[in-house]
Each structure stands twice: as structure tokens, then as C-alpha cells.
Symmetry: C2
Subunit: 193 residues, 2 copies
């Protein structure tokens, strides 16, 4: 039982990494099997819905990991500015450590499949919504009103996602470093009131 | 000759639309042929490099069309705020008219292929760089200093790209409408100096 669940976890981790690096359509089932080291039989046992079910589950897990990282950034920060800067630096660090292969774990599949698959659309939408909510909660923790935190969370996430896309495409951290200045403006108390 | 070039143009337009809607890997050569109405022979005649060459050319053309739209927005605006708002509304309008199928024409392929293909990487990077330069030029037109316009252009493009990603995933224009408030902050003279 422990072994089966280990094989399931390895498959999901491999799938999440491949979807992050090269997208959903660019990743074949046999790539996931090879990277996860699982036999084909176990894959269909754990995921009778095949690639789409693996995608939904892997993206939901990847989304939850980012949500936890955002919550952790809020808990260990002393100001809204420090909080959003930490999120940005965490993303920039993942990108740099992976030689610009690992940006947002959700964005590529979201763009590829939003118009094609209800299940994957729901999984990617659910991940972004969770992140927005967690950013909103973090901002409220630092005294931002609920309405303003709700607006600011959308803008912070947009800024980060766009900067991550440019940084990955340019193979340069400059857009992420620049983004910190926009994030600072967005959380400045006098703005967006 | 006119006919041949017409067939080439139709192939490129079909490819650009498909890459925009479903990404590079999710689009097969036969999808491009079917959508463009061209025979397979003409495709290899015009694009001996196959799908990758079609991708590079189609993305470069799509990028140039957006650059021209940005330049036009600058020429027909009376302030930096009007300029960046027009860019945002043009993108939101494309997204809405396509029933949330057509967001950024470059982002999906950029994320899928940045680590895989030098040619496609150069085409997507080139498109984003052109847009950043055109936004910078537009901002300078409204009196922004060159250094500040350079920084602001990156932040405006990041904000727009991220909002477009969220809007497409949520199938809602709300993130694009919210983004206008961030854009306004970014181009306010007292900020980012």
C-alpha cells in the first residue's frame, strides 16, 4: 500500500515538473512514466482517467504547494511589502535554480487548455483562485481592508505572473527584479484606496 | 505568384490563430493545413523547415501586429494613462470577442518552448522585446524620462500579460478591468521616479 502510494506520488511529481517545464500537450504519457519510474499498469490503476486525470491531480497538488508557500511568506513577514517581495523572490529563485525551465507551475497548462478541457480548466482556475485568496489573506494580516486586499491580490498575482513569463522568455531575472517596484507601489497604503 | 503568396499568408494566419488558442504543441501540422486550406505540398515549398519554421514566422508576424497596435494606441492617445488603458482594452476586447479563446498570441508558445527551441525562443523573445520598446516609446512621447519609461514599460507589459492569463483562465474580464488601476499607478508621474 505504501509502495502503491509512493508510485502514485512519484508519477504526480514527475507530471507536475514536466507540465511546468514544457506544458501539457508537449508532455506525453510515456514521458511521465519514464520520469516517474512507474510501470504503465500502475498508471492506469491509479489514474483510470489517463493523462487528463493525472493533469488535474498534479496541477491541484502543485497549486496547493504554492498556496502553502504564500501562506508561509505571510506568516514570516513583518509588512505587506516584505510579504509580496518574498513571494516574488521565491518564484525568481525557482526560475534561476532550474536554469529558467521552471516558472509558474500552472500558467502553461492554463493557457493551453482553458478552452479545451473542463477538468484542467477547473484545476488551473482553482489554483489561481487559491493563490489570490491567500495573497488577500496575507494583505489583510498587515492591516489592509478586505476590499482593497481583494483588488490588490489580483494585481499582485497578475504582476508576478507576467513578470515570470517575461523572465522565462528572456532567460533573465530582470523582469522579476523590476516587478518588485510595482509590487511595492501596489501595497503602499496611500495607493488604490 | 500572387496565389502562392496568398497560400503562404493563409497558412501563417491559421497557424498564428491556432498557436494563440491552444499553443504550439497542441497544434498539429494537419490542423494548420486544414485551417489554412492549403495543400501539404505548398506547405513544404513555403516552409522547408516545417512546423518550427511556420511557428517562428507566424509568431514574428503576430508580434509585429501587436507592436503596430501599441504604436497606434500611442499616436491616438492624449496621455500616458489613456495610452496604457487603450492597450489593455484592446487585449480585453480580443479576449471577449473570441469567447476567451484568444489571449496573448505569444505567451502560450513562449512558455511551452522557451527551454526547447532556439528559433521559437528567439521569435517569442523578439515579440515581447518589440512590445516593451514600443510601450517605452509611447511613454516617452507623453514626457516620461527614458530610464523611467524603460522600467515602466516592463511593468506595464508584465501587468497586462498576467491579467490576460488570469482573465483567460477565469473566463472573466475582471482581471483586465482591475489591471487598469495598476497601470494608472504605474504611469502616475509621482511614482517610480
Amino acid at each position: 500500500m505504501a509502495k502503491a502510494s509512493d508510485s502514485k506520488g512519484k508519477t504526480l511529481a514527475a507530471a507536475a515538473r514536466l507540465f511546468r517545464q514544457q506544458g501539457y500537450h508537449g508532455t506525453a504519457l510515456h514521458d511521465i512514466l519514464a520520469a516517474g519510474g512507474s510501470p504503465r499498469g500502475s498508471l492506469y490503476f491509479h489514474f483510470p482517467g489517463g493523462k487528463e486525470e493525472i493533469g488535474e491531480t498534479a496541477l491541484t497538488l502543485a497549486g496547493e504547494a504554492v498556496r502553502q508557500a504564500i501562506a508561509h511568506a505571510a506568516e514570516t513577514s513583518e509588512s505587506a511589502e516584505m510579504f509580496v517581495t518574498r513571494i516574488a523572490r521565491g518564484m525568481a529563485s525557482d526560475l534561476e535554480k532550474s536554469d529558467f525551465r521552471e516558472g509558474c507551475p500552472i500558467a502553461t497548462t492554463a493557457l493551453e487548455t482553458s478552452a479545451q478541457s473542463d477538468g484542467l480548466g477547473a484545476a488551473t482556475r482553482g489554483a489561481f483562485e487559491k493563490w489570490e485568496n491567500e495573497i488577500r489573506r496575507g494583505l489583510e494580516r498587515f492591516g489592509m481592508t478586505s476590499d482593497r486586499a481583494d483588488l490588490t491580490a489580483t494585481l499582485v498575482l497578475s504582476q508576478l505572473e507576467g513578470a515570470l513569463l517575461l523572465a522565462r522568455t528572456y532567460r533573465s531575472l530582470a523582469p522579476m527584479q523590476r516587478a518588485e517596484q510595482a509590487l511595492k507601489l501596489l501595497v503602499t497604503p496611500a495607493n488604490l484606496v
